[in-house]
Assembly symmetry: none
Homo-oligomer: 208 residues x 4
Amino acid sequence: MNTPLPRWQRRKDARPAEIIQAALTLFSDKGFAATRLDDVAKLAGVTKGTVYLYFENKEELFKAVVRETVVPALEFAETLVEEHQGAWSDLLWQLLSSWAERMEHATSSGISRLMIAEATNFPELARFYVDEVVVRSRRLFADVINRGIQSGEFREVDPMMAARAVTAPLVMIKVWKQSFALCDTEPVDLKAFARFHFDLLVQGLRHR
Amino acid sequence: MNTPLPRWQRRKDARPAEIIQAALTLFSDKGFAATRLDDVAKLAGVTKGTVYLYFENKEELFKAVVRETVVPALEFAETLVEEHQGAWSDLLWQLLSSWAERMEHATSSGISRLMIAEATNFPELARFYVDEVVVRSRRLFADVINRGIQSGEFREVDPMMAARAVTAPLVMIKVWKQSFALCDTEPVDLKAFARFHFDLLVQGLRHR
Amino acid sequence: MNTPLPRWQRRKDARPAEIIQAALTLFSDKGFAATRLDDVAKLAGVTKGTVYLYFENKEELFKAVVRETVVPALEFAETLVEEHQGAWSDLLWQLLSSWAERMEHATSSGISRLMIAEATNFPELARFYVDEVVVRSRRLFADVINRGIQSGEFREVDPMMAARAVTAPLVMIKVWKQSFALCDTEPVDLKAFARFHFDLLVQGLRHR
Amino acid sequence: MNTPLPRWQRRKDARPAEIIQAALTLFSDKGFAATRLDDVAKLAGVTKGTVYLYFENKEELFKAVVRETVVPALEFAETLVEEHQGAWSDLLWQLLSSWAERMEHATSSGISRLMIAEATNFPELARFYVDEVVVRSRRLFADVINRGIQSGEFREVDPMMAARAVTAPLVMIKVWKQSFALCDTEPVDLKAFARFHFDLLVQGLRHR
DNA sequence: TATGAATGAGAATTCATTCAT
DNA sequence: CATGAATGAATTCTCATTCAT
């Protein structure tokens, strides 16, 4: 009598993730306010009521989207730094190129633009995002640059400033692409830009 | 003895600008959807009805805000380039520093973040913005870099790529500041960053 | 010093009539609610404020339109009946044809449809209209038919019923023309119909 | 002990018809513009939101009202004509009397006045109504009269003109009753009028 | 669990009316 | 008298949220 549940029934455990995925897609594209829960539900293949089964309300869904999407991104990079040996500029390139790669393919890559747009409407979420992503990745790059300075590979610059100078362009290009994809007549390849940016940076950071 | 305040003053000529200013403030802060026309009106010192006297609807008001705010920004810079004599890196600094200056004080400086947030919801406006601002300033900087290459001051790089590398960080820092002002525990000074960015750039652009 | 006002300045006495005329046109076309005072004013060549100088509000303007437009129409007909000599069917034709004529040209001819549409929203006005126009013209025709019966020209019928049978079709055709002008693929000439209707009637009223 | 009444009942299938019925009542009485959706909802026993669940907006509701209400009316009459045997004047009476009957009892009978009032504001709907109702019933009667002429029962008249002369009075009387019910001091019985009208007509149509 | 019909608060929009000029 | 800028109440419409099934 007590037959084990068939495997595919466990799919219901996947529901929250599917809803979050759908919400991410729509929030990223249209923003929080312009996204209707009805559309999220439709995209997730459920009905509105089901969304409320898993998330208290639209705000909580939004927070869940950000929280779920954001965290895992950096862990990989942090271990990379930890374990690195060799030239720091090589690591810098590894980080930048893998980051550019993620940006082009990861479904989560729309979150930057979303947070930029909604931060002032969701202060606590903004704080979470800043702590978990912005500052954390800034620290990551500052760390690399700092080590490069220690090793004499880079000249003495303010590592936090430098970290901003390293991260900002890539994020900005990605955000622009997302916002103006339809009308930018001079599209740019993210990976090509990453390479260009890296070259400029490394020469800029070296001793004259 | 004291006559009651008149219910309103007749200020036809000033009204549209006042409303646009109010709308810019609120749109910049909260985004399009989260801004209520009632609040725009209140901030402009009028009633909702008055807003509709001058703007057909919320979207048209939004467009007017962008159009009015955006255009004049670049003219100053373009004449600066035209009339410049001397080292191109000096001009680059002039442009970056004056731009950073504007970003810190001009009321219009919130427009970038606003457009990033709303571009996909207002495609025609996005195109206008891209044409009038994004591409135009990219060209401006590309031009400067190109001349620097011609004159032998800079090494041979792709000027459009370089232009992106020049403009993106400044915009990004500004946008971040706006979005995360309340929660960034490591705030950065825009002008200081501009200086840092410039130093990095110029060294990066020079011949090795 | 005290020069007499130039003649054309007396035009200002014409203002109310001009406004009423404009209002009649628009009310007739779109109905009471769908007519904006702004448009009435524009059509009358004045501004909204001026309308309120002469009429307390939209309802009063509406009433004025009906009152001014409606009354004079029947006086002419009533004297015609009074003074008639000869066959009553000739008079009937005279009345019908001159009425059809008016309907095609008088600016007031849209009032029937207007009253049909708005009667339930303006009960007192409806009463006025019924008394002054509907019942009065019904009586007029009933009178003619009655006299025709007295003289032996028509057979004995209920004169009030007959009066309805005489007036209703003409009004209906006119109203239909007005309502469905744009889409009736089989338009009818009002005067031709009047003739047809008259022939039918007269034969119908005669002794068998 | 006694459970509180549920806030609402689930009645999906019945709702649209109920809303249309309520809307028909109010539109017929007050016209399109003067009818508030709130009142329609209240009369249908739902809330405003529910109306929008089934109809895109007020105009679409209006169109639905007309479309749903109008069509079935004529089918019965058309089969009657098809299958008729005997004197055409008998059929004419059958049609007129059953029509008068409908007019007095059918809930849809207010639609004529409504369309007369709103036709110019809803041109496409007017066309639909003209095609489906006005022209169609005109043709119906023209057909009968034509057959009467063929059979020698009626004299040679223009059948379309005659059809107008047959239909217009009945519609007009109905419309007048609706508009001026409250103030007409000489109310008329629709069926009695139909009889009177029929007698006049038949004598008018016969050979002299 | 899942659904989706129904709700109701809230925002955009319209326009008759007022009133400073 | 005339204007037309400004008002604000009324109405349409939207959509997050609830809840009977």
